[in-house]
Amino acid sequence: MRYVGQEHVLTLPVEDGRIEPSALGLAFDEGHRARFGHAAPGQPIEIVSLRVSAVRAIPRRAPELLAPGSGTPDAAAQRPERLVLFEIGEGPRPCAVYERAALRAGDRIEGPAAIEEETTTTLLRPGDSAVVDGSGALLLEIGASR
């Protein structure tokens, strides 16, 4: 709510039941005074938005799980290899590339490898490894075999 002509608004709680405009107006004046130190009783007031929150119980849904894989990524999840420079001073080395959306639960990937998806790339350095869990998360072990 706000006085007509203002830009910013004040959000006020309203109790369940019928809303009395005059009581709401008084509550706004009082809220404005409490928040800003000043009120303008008698000035026209407008309601800019109404917010309702409702709570009800819904049945619990089973989490979606990835189909189990063979333990190594399918050919469908493999993209062409590419060269990646890991250490300054050393040459670039061939690196396997996987598509994350095509990985399945239980797939295990050893570094060096790049796991690509639309919004990011997960890079496994040599010695790192990743396991895909049932929810699709990548569980990384850094330097497991370094």
């Binding site: 006085y3 007509v4 002509g5 203002q6 830009e7 910013h8 928040r35 800003f36 130190g37 000043h38």
Partner: protein, 527 residues
Amino acid sequence: MNDRLDPITAEIIRGNLVGITNEMKTNLMRTAYNQIIYEAQDFTVGLFDADGETVSIGLGLPMFVGGLSHAVKAMIEHFGVDGMHPGDVLLTNDGFLSGSHLNHIIVVLPVFAGGHVVAYSASMAHWADVGGVLGGTTHDIYSEGFQLPMVKIVKAGVEDRELLAIIELNVRFSNLALGDLRAQLAAVRTGETRVTELAARYGTDVLEAAFRAMFDASERRARAAVRAIPDGEYRATAEMDDDGVRVGRVPIDVTVRIDGDRFIVDLSRMSPQVAGYYNSGAAAGISAVHVAFKALTSPTEGPVNAGSFRPAEVILPPGTVVSAERPAAMRWWMTYPMTLVDCIFRALAPAVPDLAIAGHHADIGVATAFGQDPLTGQLFVFVHAAQGGGWGARRDADGESATICINDGDTHNTPIEANEVKRSGLLAVRYALRPDSGGAGERRGGLGTTFEWQVETDMRFNSSVERTVMAPWGLEGGPRPCPTPSGAGRPMGGSPRWRAARRTPFPSPPGSRSSSRQAGVAASATP
């Protein structure tokens, strides 16, 4: 330090004062009715000690760093501390007190604790309209709107309805004016509540000792910074395009004398006050020195308080373009003092080359348009501000592009969507960097901008952009950029035909486009 003031308490109080002025600022913006306040942030709020010295200031507008303190001191002298009572609120828009235009309404509330005034809580805000002629230039203060001397708008808690009625009758948008006044009251009462709480918590003597300790600490830091500048006399000059009425340049002439820890700025060679509306009062001339001084000595120290400025002495005889006397016109007060700030940097460039910055666009980039709103049929007055322009380069960096001028600090440009929603006759076409508008050099000047509005109703348009003739400058041999091609009006689809639109409101028929531009600026080419 006071027996009861330990350094930790002093620091807690200092942090509190910054917080209070921030809260005053927020409450002013949240309750204001006028876009120039809640979007552009053309306002200043502050707390002042019992003598009117600045304790903490929340700046939208650095150019007003001295204006509020100046007005509070004048109020103290006018009413006398015995003439003020709890529940009083004082008001003025006297341009020769604030140093600025009549749109700046100053509201001051004396804060009482333990039976006496411990502080003043004050706000200045830019009202959308204060009467006076619409557009064009003005030749004296009387054509610029209503003037209220120092008055009590609230006496012991009771609003003066007669004064409110006088204001209501003299402005074009009384709902905005009275709404903004209520917002200013909200801001100063927020300050009052919080300062009263502080005084109750620590005691008024500790609070006042904390103010003094803060002034002294800020002064020590500022003096140390001045001592680092080599002693000597430094001078810089520049010229403004014209005074808005007469043809001919207006000289800005600044001498800075560094003498140990004293920073003396002599403005006695500034142009005499001019016939057009580019004059400002002494509070503005002194504030311009303070803006440059703060930037050079303690730019990041807060709160902004009177102690920081003690080493800065200003020699400013009355009657110059930055110490104008009645009946000088002052509507465009803000433009010249920015070049004054630039000239202080220019003067000191040989002494502190690593701190110096080349000239910037030095103007708010205001365009105004007024006409009939096609949807409501009502008069609308549209103020397009502030528009970013190019800033000067420094030794270690290129200049910033599309950045608001120095004296407008926290002032924002109003979002395009907010402007379009409020005025159905305007459509923003583009807001773009102007390629190659910055000066060349090893460090380049920032780029200026072009803003283009499409007009969909009959309206009149004014653009008062400065430096359309006299370009800003480079340092250390950097060349000047081109001046700003300000202008207005071309038929849609036609070839660009920019015309100067500074003096006379330029009629914009429906279907035409109006544009406001800001300069790019010179670079400092380091050898």
